[in-house]
Symmetry: C3
Subunit: 131 residues, 3 copies
């Protein structure tokens, strides 16, 4: 279910894959997402037609290794789960891709079970949960 | 009002346009969106600088014809409307672009009328509905 | 905190930067975002692998100078603040990039403080505000 967009700067395919894997493994470990519940859009920005801009808020020393991770998922995760998720993404991004924790920005947007169709033109969560 | 991002893999301009048209026509038919209420970002991913990753959840046999459709729209649509929308997107994506229903992932994110400015620096829905 | 995606058509680096700066300055002026609280993804679409499609809703005469601005930010801004934001984005996009107000579409998606990690694997807003 999580739908994830990841944006990085001048990252090759291998680095994109490593960061994507870090985010997915963190979702599996920290939030209990099924292993095969993987939907990611990974984009490397060339600095001319595709550009990332970033500041230092809140007193964070970032550089061009920056990674933006935007996660859309169903509501219902607790604050503790989200905090564990951020921690684990930062750890695994460093382990898999060498990205320092200061360079990992994560933002979550939530929606509801009815807001997902995984294929076949069906709202699978609505079918599964009859309420 | 719907703002739609569509991501596909190695799709040419014609296929992107066909998928975009499928999603828009489905929004018009199933949710009552005006015909001219069209705002889409369509991206073809080359597999190196722009990459899509996907799994099999929930027991769905996908391949590189996969299409991610992310719709932002105002809240207020019923579950039945959303289900009709998913069904119609799947039907029209197959009809217009040859994309099989198993390869169409749709996710919806909702916001409110005040969250839209269609131009001229104005929140048109807020002006129209004085609540 | 705002995380902003900006999409334009055949825009060079200079124009992307000008539009990005317009949006950021408007956020600072109209909504009180800190100057260094800048996180933007700017994409120029070539019309073949990356395509924008747009209609005329609601009676707006757009052309290929169109700019889509999608802002994710914490909930809590008032209708008045959002209206001031739209107005200021339109003004500054014209001033900095020559983009006419009719060509500026803005949409806002809101989330909560816990939905942000600015780096170091931490949910900074959750730490700062012990609710």
């Amino acid at each position: 279910m999580p739908f994830v967009r990841i944006d990085a700067i001048r990252a090759d395919e291998k680095r994109l894959e490593a960061v994507g894997r870090a985010v997915h493994d963190a979702l599996v470990e920290a939030v209990g997402i099924p292993q095969d519940d993987l939907f990611q859009v990974l984009t490397s920005h060339d600095g001319s037609q595709r550009v990332l801009r970033y500041g230092t808020f809140p007193a964070m020393d970032r550089d061009d290794d920056i990674v933006f991770v935007a996660i859309t998922m169903r509501s219902g995760r607790t604050a503790e789960q989200k905090q564990a998720l951020y921690r684990r993404i930062a750890e695994l991004a460093q382990e898999y891709a060498g990205t320092e924790p200061r360079n990992v920005l994560v933002t979550i947007t939530e929606n509801e079970p009815i807001d997902w169709s995984f294929g076949d033109g069906v709202a699978q969560y609505a079918e599964a949960a009859p309420h």
